[in-house]
């Protein structure tokens, strides 16, 4: 609550970066990169999200408890994704050699 006021310059710079990244992601999506289209789009989205979280939501300067909460949120999302997808990814696997 008592953090020093952030200069407008910082906010403007973040805003500019976000706009630039938006343009980049649209531009990149027009290129033929195969699987990298996906990687590029997601990387850019993650960078943009991080900028918003860190600067606009000020997690950069937040208490470690807030950081912990943000981390926990992401971690639990990851649990959901990893375990659901691991089922789908391994459905086609064969039992392999009878290892028992």
């Amino acid at each position: 609550m008592t953090h020093p006021v952030v200069p407008i310059k910082t906010y403007a710079a973040v805003f500019g970066a976000l706009l630039a990244l938006t343009i980049t992601t649209v531009a990149v999506s027009k290129l033929e990169l195969g699987e990298f289209n996906f990687v590029a789009a997601m990387t850019i989205a993650v960078i943009k999200g991080t900028l918003v979280v860190m600067f606009f939501m000020d997690v950069r300067r937040a208490t470690s408890l807030t950081k912990l909460i943000v981390g926990a949120g992401l971690f639990w999302m990851a649990i959901l994704f990893v375990f659901v997808l691991s089922d789908y990814a391994s459905r086609g696997w064969l039992p392999g050699p009878r290892w028992f």
């Binding site: 006021v5 992601t25 606009f56 959901l80």
Partner: protein, 223 residues
């Protein structure tokens, strides 16, 4: 921290009497808001999970649907939301500096941008309606190979952007409340917690869109 201190503290603006002091109250509000945002994250997470599963199951169909997404509108809307996040953060800053007029101006600006986003979203939804891309009995898809699979994608599209739009509408409503509170001089340099909290919410909604845009509009565009 005794009772006498708590009584003294009542003079602090906005302090509820079950808190010891406004620092504790502010800490509680912030923590509460962040925990709430985590629940929001899990809420959208369920849909993103479903999306990922089906995208892996039907990559070709999902790629083909991206051609029916209005990328210009999507991109402009991304810009609009980012801009609104910027104005929101400026509003918080003005509140922090106690500049009431500027605060109201930025809040109104944010509100307008939010409405602009929703209007453009409406235009898009209308387009889908005209093209019979609304999942359900009336659904049509030019490429009959992908009829069912495309329908699932559009289902997810409407569920995800629809939920996002509902969050935007709630946000707009809360901005109106903030504006009226600001107009009634409810905020001081020492107490502007609601502005800050709604700000966090607004940025969160922005972030959701930052991920929705590439996932729904861009990926597979080259195929």
């Amino acid at each position: 921290m005794g009772d006498s201190e708590a009584t003294l503290a009542v003079h602090e603006p906005g302090l509820k009497h079950h808190f010891d002091d406004s620092a504790q109250q502010f800490q509680s509000s912030t923590l509460g808001m962040w925990v709430f945002l985590v629940t929001e994250l899990m809420f959208f997470g369920g849909m993103f999970g479903g999306y990922t599963v089906y995208r892996n199951m039907y990559p070709d169909a999902f790629a083909s649907t991206s051609h029916f997404m209005n990328v210009p509108i999507g991109a402009i809307n991304t810009g609009v939301l980012i801009f609104s996040s910027f104005t929101m953060v400026m509003a918080v800053r003005s509140a922090q500096l106690g500049q009431k007029k500027v605060l109201i101006a930025f809040l109104i600006f944010t509100l307008l941008l939010g409405c602009l986003f929703l209007t453009l979203k409406y235009v898009e939804y209308h387009e889908k309606w005209v093209d019979h891309h609304i999942p359900g009995p009336g659904f049509q898809y030019a490429d009959t190979r992908y009829f069912h699979q495309a329908q699932i994608l559009f289902f997810l599209y409407f569920a995800m952007t629809g939920m996002h739009a509902i969050h935007m509408i709630v946000g707009v409503g809360m901005l109106i409340v903030l504006i009226s509170m600001a107009a009634r001089n409810r905020f001081t340099q020492a107490w502007y917690t609601p502005v800050e909290m709604i700000g966090l919410y607004w940025h969160f909604v922005d972030i959701v869109w930052i991920f929705l845009f590439p996932l729904l509009y861009l990926i597979g565009h080259t195929k």
